[in-house]
């Protein structure tokens, strides 16, 4: 069989892989941010029992390889709980947990960076804790956290490439498929690498623009 050359079907495969990578990245980033903020709030408000447990879990997630976490969820959990998990579910679940652990750290340090005096002032003006959180803490913490969040997002995008190891047909897996068929490793991996590179750069640029926008209203505009 001579199907070693690249053909018209390959760009479609590439686009599908790109879609899967971006999809898993977006899903895990959004879910991870929500859960990460929840973890951070539990720890900032020192919720008993929950806060220390979450701390242990997130330390565990931060200090172990994502690849092994993926293996644990995809190969280990189905055997333990007698359930079926698709590769994509395992991938999103694992990456969400991982992202949440890092988001929690960023959120806690961003909240810490806010001047305590402001909170006391808000309390003495009779703001509820909820409105303090929404109107005073959240907008400022977001600005402080932006650079770290952009860094994390770029990093998590790279991490999505690992889901190819549990059989998700993402960009890296597409690279492996094309590499095995065509035996043109330099062309295949250069294209895949450049795709990730451009994605990362676009992500960082978008984050940078968002950051300047968020900062704009904080600049001193004069009275």
């Amino acid at each position: 069989m001579r199907n070693q050359g690249f053909n018209w079907h390959d760009p479609i495969l590439w686009a599908q892989g790109l879609g899967v990578s971006v999809g898993v990245f977006a899903a895990s980033m959004i879910l991870g941010t929500v859960i990460g903020i929840f973890i951070a709030l539990c720890r900032v408000y020192k919720v008993p029992v929950v806060a220390p447990v979450l701390l242990v879990i997130s330390e565990f997630l931060k200090n172990s390889p994502v690849l092994v976490q993926l293996f644990l969820v995809f190969f280990g959990v189905p055997v333990l709980l007698q359930v079926n998990i698709t590769p994509a579910e395992a991938a999103i679940f694992t990456l969400t947990g991982n992202t949440a652990a890092f988001i929690a750290v960023i959120a806690i340090s961003a909240i810490d960076a806010i001047d305590r005096g402001q909170l006391e002032a808000a309390r003495s003006f009779g703001h509820s804790e909820r409105s303090i959180l929404r109107k005073i803490i959240a907008p400022q913490a977001l600005v402080v956290a932006m650079p770290a969040l952009i860094g994390l997002a770029v990093n998590q995008l790279q991490v999505t490439s690992l889901i190819s190891a549990i059989g998700v047909i993402d960009l890296t897996k597409v690279g492996q498929i094309l590499n095995q068929r065509t035996w043109q490793p330099f062309i295949v991996w250069t294209i895949i690498g450049v795709t990730y590179f451009i994605l990362s750069r676009l992500l960082a640029a978008a984050g940078g623009r968002l950051e300047t926008r968020l900062r704009r209203h904080m600049d001193w505009a004069g009275l």
């Binding site: 092994v68 644990l72 190969f75 280990g76 999505t160 890296t172 490793p185 330099f186 590179f197 990362s200």
Partner: protein
């Protein structure tokens, strides 16, 4: 089985830590160089290897090198790819450390007639390391975790061996859970070591604190 895997992980990690540190130092000095060409090349290097997933880089080398007639085993390829990739992260950390070194100190060293190499080696690097050792430590911890990716290019380190054990025993959960804990312990020990080194480097700084 487990011990063999640990030895491979440990030796890949140790060699790549040394390798990436050396690359990091060279690239970092390039990135702060006065020559625009060197500066651009070094920053391009940092940007390139930080924005492409490690697994893609490792496949590039693992499948690409034999194409151009270089036949080396997975261990060497892995160590090399890790050193190159993590070197970019190390370089970025060291660059900001170097940029924080007081220019007065460098000028003083130049006036004293020290050679360029001596200034780099004896003056700038030790001072920069004091600040950047902690972030450098987390880069190296990440390196140890990244070695697990080398299992995808058939290197039987901890993760590669765990895969074999998991399929032999049909107990994937226990195997991978234990493996995760083991990586945690490993990185914790490494962070203790880095803390010790950090304290040693900053032993003259007590008064300033």
């Amino acid at each position: 089985m487990f011990w063999d895997g640990f030895l491979v992980t440990a030796s890949v990690s140790a060699l790549s830590i040394v390798g990436s540190f050396l690359i990091g130092v060279i690239v970092a000095f390039g990135a702060v160089s006065r020559r625009p060409f060197l500066r651009k090349a070094a920053r391009g290097y940092i940007g390139l290897f930080r924005n492409i997933p490690f697994i893609v880089q490792v496949f590039f080398f693992y499948f690409g090198l034999p194409e151009i007639g270089v036949y080396i085993d997975a261990f060497t390829t892995g160590t090399m790819a890790l050193s190159i990739a993590v070197g970019a992260y190390a370089a970025d950390v060291l660059r900001s450390g170097i940029e924080n070194v007081d220019t007065g100190v460098i000028e003083a060293a130049e006036v004293s007639g020290l050679s360029r190499f001596k200034i780099y080696r004896r003056i700038i690097l030790p001072i920069a390391l004091r600040v950047s050792l902690r972030p450098l430590g987390s880069v190296f911890i990440n390196l140890v975790l990244t070695t697990s990716i080398l299992s995808t290019i058939t290197l039987n380190e901890l993760t590669g061996n765990a895969k074999i054990v998991a399929s032999d025993t049909f107990r994937p959960f226990e195997v991978y859970f234990f493996l995760l804990l083991f990586y945690c312990v490993l990185t914790y020990l490494l962070s203790l070591l880095i803390n010790l080194w950090h304290r040693r480097l900053n032993r003259f700084m007590r008064g300033a604190e």
